[in-house]
């Protein structure tokens, strides 16, 4: 990974009326890096991407993309970036090739280079046979591949993808991941993607920024983020009835690093899952404590998300977004 920064973000803020969508975020992305913005819906990821891609001006703070300021040198930013927005925005009435040709012209790709470049991109996203089909006849996964090809038609230095695999089936998701890795390796691309899929962030990203309520709450490699949590295993247990002092007994089990609990349910972080599990079973047997459920797993990004935001990502996805909450509160619904 090169040390040169492709993106530098300094205390960027975006407000919509009274609502602050992005609240003083600061980070930098190195050239050639795949950088993930992880967070639930409404966390501010898309607004952040829209500011970096010159679609929305920041309320405060600055950002430089490919060495250009996103406000003062917006034209320079636009020439250096490719953008694949959250909604599939290829023209459904145009063919795959016509879509790519349109964007090649908008990005000033010389006429003589266009046919070869488009053919090469179509082959790379495995859509050569579909080149002359109207986009409306393509499946969701194929349309996403059209978008990826469209975003790369001018060989950008930095590619922004806003939730690139949302709504795709597992096979199409895997295909998109594979293509992104390939393009990154072949074209020395810097990639910034937003996602609320933990496995996607884990599998693709060199570094991950966790964003919640418009703030950056953690930033590191997936490995380092997981390592920042106590233990490498997590035991989630719930008991039928508890003898007095049971929480202390749990904390005293071998290799246990932390115990948190609500009611009869506990989360036990352990440096050695099997050792702690054996001791837990023995202690429960001795005390006559009955299990209602028991789950042992390696520390995941979901645990990292829970650690930094105080809730599970899967739960956060079900919540109304911060902006929706603000609107609901204004309407007196909460």
């Amino acid at each position: 990974m090169s040390a040169v920064a492709a993106i530098e973000v300094e205390g960027i803020v975006r407000r919509f009326g009274d609502f602050t969508a992005v609240d003083g975020i600061r980070f930098s992305v190195a050239e050639g890096e795949i950088f993930g913005l992880l967070g639930p819906n409404g966390a501010g990821k898309s607004t952040l991407i829209r500011m970096l891609t010159t679609l929305v001006p920041p309320t405060a703070g600055t950002a430089r993309v490919a060495g250009c300021d996103v406000v003062r040198e917006a034209a320079g930013v636009r020439r250096a970036i490719g953008v694949i927005p959250q909604n599939m925005t290829s023209d459904r009435e145009l063919t795959v090739k016509e879509n790519l040709s349109l964007f090649a012209q908008l990005y000033d790709v010389p006429r003589r280079r266009r046919p070869a470049l488009i053919a090469e991109l179509l082959a790379a996203v495995q859509l050569t046979e579909w080149a002359d089909k109207q986009v409306k006849f393509l499946s969701g996964g194929m349309r996403r591949r059209v978008e990826i090809a469209r975003g790369l038609v001018h060989r950008p230095r930095i590619l922004f993808l806003d939730e690139p695999t949302t709504g795709l089936d597992p096979v199409s998701r895997a295909a998109v991941w594979q293509m992104l890795r390939k393009f990154k390796a072949e074209q020395d691309l810097t990639v910034v993607l937003t996602t609320h899929y933990l496995d996607e962030a884990d599998a693709l990203c060199d570094r991950i920024a966790i964003v919640d309520h418009g703030k950056l709450v953690a930033l590191d490699t997936p490995l380092a983020l997981k390592a920042s949590l106590p233990g490498d295993s997590l035991l989630e247990v719930s008991f039928a009835a508890l003898p007095p002092g049971w929480a202390e007994r749990l904390r005293a089990l071998p290799a246990v690093e932390r115990v948190t609990g609500v009611g009869h349910a506990y989360r036990i972080a352990s440096a050695d899952g099997p050792v702690t599990l054996r001791a837990l079973l023995a202690a429960a047997e001795a005390e006559g404590v009955r299990f209602e459920s028991l789950d042992v797993q390696h520390t995941s990004l979901d645990d990292v998300f829970a650690e930094y935001t105080g809730r599970q990502l899967r739960d956060a996805l079900q919540e109304p977004s911060a902006r929706e909450s603000a609107v609901m509160a204004a309407k007196g619904q909460r």
Partner: protein
């Protein structure tokens, strides 16, 4: 220019594939031209007129015979004899007849004695078209009668008006043609321009453009040029087919066609630029749909497209003054039906061109190159 052409090309590819849009924007106004043109353009025939003869004299008989002659000739009405006034009026109220003529007792005596003989027409004034036609036909009938009597007294009773028609008879369907062409241009500006623009905005297609190096002026130019090309295409087709359908003489006369194309182009540019000015800051897809419905009525009817502007009340005339349709309709009518040249329509063309330029400048200033 490369960016503008790329965006225009995209619009034209879509336009070429939008068969329903083309069909609707061409057939809709043509249908209106034919139906409205022939529905309102004709004269009334076969109205049933009750005739009550309370005189039974020789002059009453002559009058009834003349009424029968109308039925056999122009056919505006058919005289139906009724025995008494009460049953005739009942027939009028129940819609069996459209009017009642009463020849009062003593009519023959008054005619012979030259004591201002009168007949009474009772008309159903709920339907003004019918009552106007009936009273017109009867006045003609009685006036001819009166002239004979007047001639014998040698008194100058009426001033003759000699009417010279400057052009061959222009049926209403031809009168309606210029308005129909302008309406077709407007329909395409809304359907192929405003609706398409807003749908692209909502679908995020504009967002795709905004992250490319295309500039604000290039975007505005591309939207206007592509919208105008679509509207000119439909306007030209409507002019040609409309002239042929409505029977305008020499529809393929090249100089006149070229001049009509100029009017159609300036009209399209004026309407497209006004529409983009209206939508420059709008994000709600309902707005162009509602605007289309309102503007259709507000621009079409006061413009003189269906009825002369001079016949409108003051407030509608005020709308007509600021309505670009007015100038487009007048220019096309002068060109197509009166055969006048460019010098006759220069003021109208100037208004349309000025509207296009001003609206284009304002819409370029209002358009925001961000979300």
């Amino acid at each position: 220019m490369g960016h503008v052409w790329a965006l225009v090309e995209r619009e034209l590819i879509r336009f070429g594939r939008a068969r329903m849009l083309i069909l609707f924007t061409v057939l809709g106004p043509l249908l209106q031209l034919v139906v409205l043109g022939y529905a309102f353009g004709g004269t009334l025939h076969g109205l049933r007129l009750a005739v009550v003869d309370e005189d039974h004299g020789i002059e009453a008989l002559r009058l009834r015979e003349r009424a029968q002659a109308v039925a056999a000739g122009p056919g505006t009405f058919v005289a139906v004899p009724y025995a008494d006034e009460v049953s005739a009026l009942t027939a009028l109220r129940t819609g069996k007849v459209s009017g009642v003529v009463v020849i009062p007792p003593g009519f023959t005596r008054r005619v012979l004695a030259r004591e201002a003989p009168q007949v009474a027409l009772v008309e159903n004034n709920v339907d003004r078209f019918v009552s106007t036609a009936l009273s017109g036909a009867l006045k003609e009938l009685v006036a001819g009668w009166g002239r004979v009597q007047v001639t014998t007294t040698r008194l100058p009773t009426e001033v003759a008006l000699a009417v010279v028609e400057l052009y061959p008879f222009v049926p209403y369907v031809q009168y309606l043609l210029p308005g129909t062409v302008v309406l077709a241009i407007f329909t395409m500006v809304m359907l192929g321009g405003a609706f398409a623009f807003m749908d692209d905005k909502v679908l995020g297609i504009h967002e795709g453009y905004l992250v490319t190096p295309v500039t604000r002026l290039e975007l505005v130019a591309a939207f206007n040029v592509s919208g105008a090309i679509k509207a000119v295409t439909v306007g030209t087709v409507l002019t040609l087919v409309g002239m042929a359908l409505s029977g305008v003489p020499a529809p393929l006369e090249p100089v006149r066609l070229f001049q009509a194309l100029l009017v159609v182009t300036l009209t399209a540019l004026a309407l497209v630029s006004l529409m983009f000015l209206l939508l420059a800051r709008v994000n709600d897809p309902m707005v162009p749909r509602i605007a289309s419905m309102l503007l259709n009525t507000l621009l079409f009817f006061p413009s003189g497209a269906v009825y002369p502007v001079e016949g409108l009340p003051g407030w509608l005339r005020a709308i007509a003054v600021v309505d670009p349709f007015t100038y487009a309709v007048r220019a096309l009518r002068t060109l197509l039906l009166q055969g006048a040249g460019l010098s006759a329509i220069a003021p109208d063309l100037l208004v349309l061109a000025a509207t296009a330029v001003v609206a284009l400048i304002l819409s370029a200033a209002a358009f925001q190159r961000s979300l």
